[in-house]
Structure formats: C-alpha cells, structure tokens
Amino acid sequence: MTGVMLHVGRLADEAWPIAIALVASTVLGLAATGLTLHWLTRRRAGQ
C-alpha cells in the first residue's frame, strides 16, 4: 500500500510495460518451472 501511494505517478506512466511484464513473466516462470520438473521426473521414472 505504501508503495502504491509513493509511486502512483510512475505506476500510471508505465502502466502497460509494468502490467505486461508482470503477467507475462509470471506465466513464463510458472510454465518453465512446472514443465521442466514435470518432464525431468517423468523422464527419470521412465528410465
């Protein structure tokens, strides 16, 4: 809440880059981690 109040101008000026970067990178982080672990454990179980 403090962060929003202090940086409201910056958040408004850079709203789109921030929103897209936050959403896209979180999706990429989730997918990269989940798929890597899933693939490696399945591969190991198959061996």
Partner: protein, 245 residues
C-alpha cells in the same frame, strides 16, 4: 445510538492499537469464509480479498498507513515464525525431496532465470525506465529478499513490494489452471512452480491444494530467494543495453 456517539466510539477505538490487529484478523477470517463459500475457487484468494477489505477500511477512515501498521505489526512479526514453520511439511517430504534432488535443482535454475530475466527483458522492450526494471526483476522472490535485491540493483524497494504482492496474487489465482492446461498435473511440479514464481502467496495457495504441494512450494520459495539474490545482481548489468536511454 446516534451518529455522534458512534463517531465518539470510533475515535476511541481507533486510538487503541489492538483495533487494527483485530480488524486485520477479522478481514482475513471473512476472506477465508468467502473462499470456502466459493468452493475454494482460486479467484476468491483470501489474501486478495482481505487486502481489499483493509484498503477500503483505511481509506474510508482516512487512517495513515503507519498508524495501521503500529497496531497490526504483530501479524508482521508472525511472518518470521511462520516461515520457519515451513520446515515441518518439508521434513515430512524429506525422502522424496532428496530423491528428486537433480530435477528440482534444474527446475530451480531454469525457473529462477526465466522469472527474473523475462520480467526485465519484456519491460525493457516495452520502454520501462531503469528504476522500474530493477524493481520488477526480483518480483518472484519473497518480499524482504526482493526489496534488498531491488535496492542493490538501483530499483525502488517499496515499488518492488507492490510488484511482489501483485505477482503472488496473480500466480495464486492462475497457476493451478495454467499448469494443468499445460499437462502438468503432479503435485510436486505444481507446488514447486507456485513457490518459485509466486513466493509466499503462491505457497499459501499450494497448501490449500495439499500438504505435499505446499511442501514443494515452500522449498522452491526459499531456494529461489537464495538463487535470485546470488544471480540477478551480476546478470542484469549484462542486459543493460536493452534499456532505452
């Protein structure tokens, strides 16, 4: 009871430090009840709902954040013991964690680099400023570590705290559905991804799914904090040419 006496009672109560602690706990209990009423739907995230309730309460009463924090800081204090208590479910899964050591380590490195560097690169390509980018990069790490990393990178620690909370809420709401659509259905992978990409809020969501999912999330949250603190400060300067002057 008339409006005047109600106002007097409110003035008295708002001066009591326990009021804000009580209201915070009441907001969370209300949010948990709403989450249960919604059948455990991830969109009814208890953290999101309780934060929303407290923002409205503080705004309506024009209460400064510092006064609120002075009253509710016991909850803040409990963050430390709660994090240490994550060792209990981890210990319960110890054999499985050790057996999966190699895959977990690879997934940790891949996920940590993708989460941090993709935020920086996407933001840079879309024209975000240097302080914003430095504040964005550690957004998947738990708040105290993320704020420290952001300061070291030339970012704004309080702005990073906002990004960390938003990332946690977004991940907690969408991770389960997203991963299942990608064919990732085992508890270990879902938990590890949730904890790595969405830190404590994702870990709380993982514990709602199952204790095993939560244990993997807790492990990922801790390890990602450590790895990000070690890697981002020397990796980001290599990407500096991406930033628009």
């Amino acid at each position: 009871m008339n409006a005047g006496s109600m106002a007097e009672i409110w003035v008295y109560l708002s001066a009591q430090p326990l009021l804000w602690l009580t209201l915070t706990l009441a907001a969370y209990l209300l949010a948990v009840a709403a989450h249960r009423k919604a059948g455990g739907h991830p969109a009814a995230n208890p953290v999101l709902i309780s934060v929303g309730i407290m923002v409205v309460v503080l705004q309506v009463n024009e209460t400064p954040y510092q006064r609120y924090f002075d009253g509710a800081q016991f909850v803040h204090f409990l963050l430390g013991p709660a994090t240490v208590a994550l060792a209990i479910p981890l210990h319960g899964q110890l054999k499985r964690l050790v057996a999966m050591g190699g895959p977990l380590l690879v997934a940790l490195v891949v996920g940590s680099l993708v989460a941090g560097l993709s935020a920086y690169c996407i933001g840079a390509l879309l024209g975000a400023s240097a302080p914003t980018l430095a504040s964005l990069a550690p957004k998947s790490v738990t708040t105290p570590i993320a704020m420290g990393i952001a300061e070291r990178l030339g970012g704004l620690a309080s702005l990073t705290a906002v990004f960390v909370i938003l990332t946690g809420i977004f991940g907690a709401i969408f991770a389960d559905g997203l991963l299942r659509r990608l064919g990732v259905k085992d508890e270990a992978s879902i938990g590890f991804a949730l904890g790595l990409a969405s830190h404590g809020i994702g870990t709380a969501r993982a514990f709602q799914l199952s204790e095993q999912t939560g244990a993997f999330a807790a492990l990922a949250m801790g390890l990602n904090g450590l790895l990000t603190a070690l890697t981002l400060p020397w990796l980001l300067p290599l990407l500096a040419p991406l930033i628009k002057p």
